[in-house]
Amino acid sequence: MSEGRFWALLLLFPSLLVITAVVLYPTATGFLLSVQELRLNRPQLGNDWVGLRHYADMVSDPVFWTSLKNTAVWVTASVIIELFLGLTAALALNRGLPGTRAFAVLILVPMFLPNIVAGHMWALMLDPRLGVVNDILMRLNLIDGYKAWFADPSTAMGAAIAVEAWHSFPFFTLLLLAGLKGIPEDLYKAAAIDGAGALAQLRLITLPQLRTVIAAAVILRVIGLVNSPDLLLVLTNGGPGRSTQVLSLYAFQTAYKDFDFGYAGALSVVMFALLMVFAWAYVALLRVDRD
């Protein structure tokens, strides 16, 4: 080994050590948990290796399949709405109109709230007895009686997605606004000279230029949505019935209510695999590295 290569490896060693400690070790532990028996409240079962038994159990577990389906709905709908709202807000803020700075701060306010606080706040606002949302909708004659949004399976998921979209669309606004600032003004001037209108400019300049930012933002948001059960935990706890049960919430309940860390580990590994496949497919489809 050359001296230069030796020093390079030596200097990289601390970073490798940190990555191993904070990324690889916990990830590997999660994988190992998924092939072990580990039920905290049943120590008599031991901690033996069980191979792929937890994964096999998952196939015949109806709650897993319901959770998987709900996760797909929860994530897809939330990301589409958040991307649309975030892009709209970013485009508006990028116009440099008077008061833009104040609006930029206001738009970010929902994101400043922790999930738990936002969840409790919306649970009160959507409350069927005291909630302001029902009151407004009644006054506008949009509903004929106070609605229990989270108690009806036909509206529970929709209401939860609306709260999630309100809470997280500023994330897209922030990233997309940064992306918009990086697009050269000359491109728009040239397009205008060529007769391109606002919609054509959006389709032919803005969106292609934002492709990388959109890809990164969508991937980050999908990861966040798949992994975080806290908002649903507060709003519905997966109910009524299993109508808002998602994989992260199921894994959480399995670990911290059933104390079955083996099965919860297997659920987490499935989520991990789904996210890896999604991220790879999404980046490949968007051809982010084409430029």
């Binding site: 905290l40 409240n41 049943r42 120590p43 409350d127 069927p128 007895r129 005291l130 106070y146 229990a148 989270f150 108690a151 009806d152 399976p153 529970a156 519905t236 706890n237 997966g238 109910g239 009524p240 019935g241 299993r242 109508s243 049960q245 309940q253 670990a255 911290y256 209510k257 059933d258 104390f259």
Partner: protein, 416 residues
Amino acid sequence: MRPVMNRRTALQLGAFAGLGSLIPRWALAQDGSVSYWHTFTSQTEVAGLDRVMALFAEARPGVTVTPEAIPNTEFMTKMTSAVMADARPDVVMVASERFTDMAAMGALVDITERVNGWERRGDYDDSRFAGITDAEGRIYGVPAFSFVDWMYYRKDWFDEAGIAPPTTLEEMRQAAIALTDPSKGRYGFGLRGGPGGQNYIVNVMEAFGAPVQVGDTLSIDRDQAVEAIRWYAGLLTQDGAVPASAPNDGFRQVIEGFQTGQTAMIWHHTGSFRDIASRLEPGVQFGTLAMPAGPAARVARLGYAYHAMSSEANADAAWSWINFWGEPDAGIAFLEETGYFPASTTVAQDPRISQDPLYAPAAETLGFGSVYPLFVGYPAWVENVVLPAFQEVLIGQTSPEGAVDQMVAGLEDASR
């Protein structure tokens, strides 16, 4: 200018600091500091804890208590993580239904000898320790206060309608139907079908003759359980006598519904008496009743909050804090702030409790009430299987038969 600290002084201080870190933990523990995890979060509970801590500091100044409030819903998550990381506090609060799981995962320390040798052990009826004693007779904690299941009802509405307070589930149903008037936003009963409602489902099944646990045997009489679920869910699906929000209604919604005049009856325990009395006049607008009897049994739970040792690092100081809750002054102070019943039999005979007619149903319940089923996995089964299955009946996604089949299958898994 002369420096404040020269290099030699700095080195000496560093050496002393290094030596200090070598002092064993038990030596520091002599100052008697106790870390204490509890679930007190309401204003009245915090005021009650403050008073007990002040009394403790006065009575036993050698021990310092460092409390940490953990919301009830997050308590087991934090406790589980503490067990996994071997970072348990000295003293923890243990709710009755959590005892078996916490003991099984090694979160509690056996304090049988300390309890048996305690001079106030005679103040407690033996039954008070049943919920914190394992099958081998090991005692893990001391009951601090109790929650007695009972029913709150709108006395003024009942009087106005000329309806007698119900003593059976069927009378309760008829009263709920009679007092329901959706045009006024009034419903007969505030059914807790959301978080925390799971135990009532098990209670109704037992009242209909389908207890979950008989001795060490876990099973469900399917036919009786189906009847129970049909009756209980029917309050919404057939009678329309409960608010439509019932499938998602937890503690806050049920209490608010009663306080704001939406519901005529609710089931809860003695712990919410002060909260309800803050909005409605006791004895005039609302009254209390013992839980109504079902066709097969009258079921009400006696829930205890225990204090238990979770780590032996500061065992003597921890025991001092645990047993202080058995002192009459502490029990009465806590009762005055919160309305929570003292667990000590002696303290519970205080005239402020025994001579108050509103507390009479609780005293009656102490005669027939029972503790929650005690088997490992019970909290997870009721929360993750029983409640969602019952909710599915409420929202029409399954039948009572389908729900009971889910419960039976879940119970078989839980009992493995």
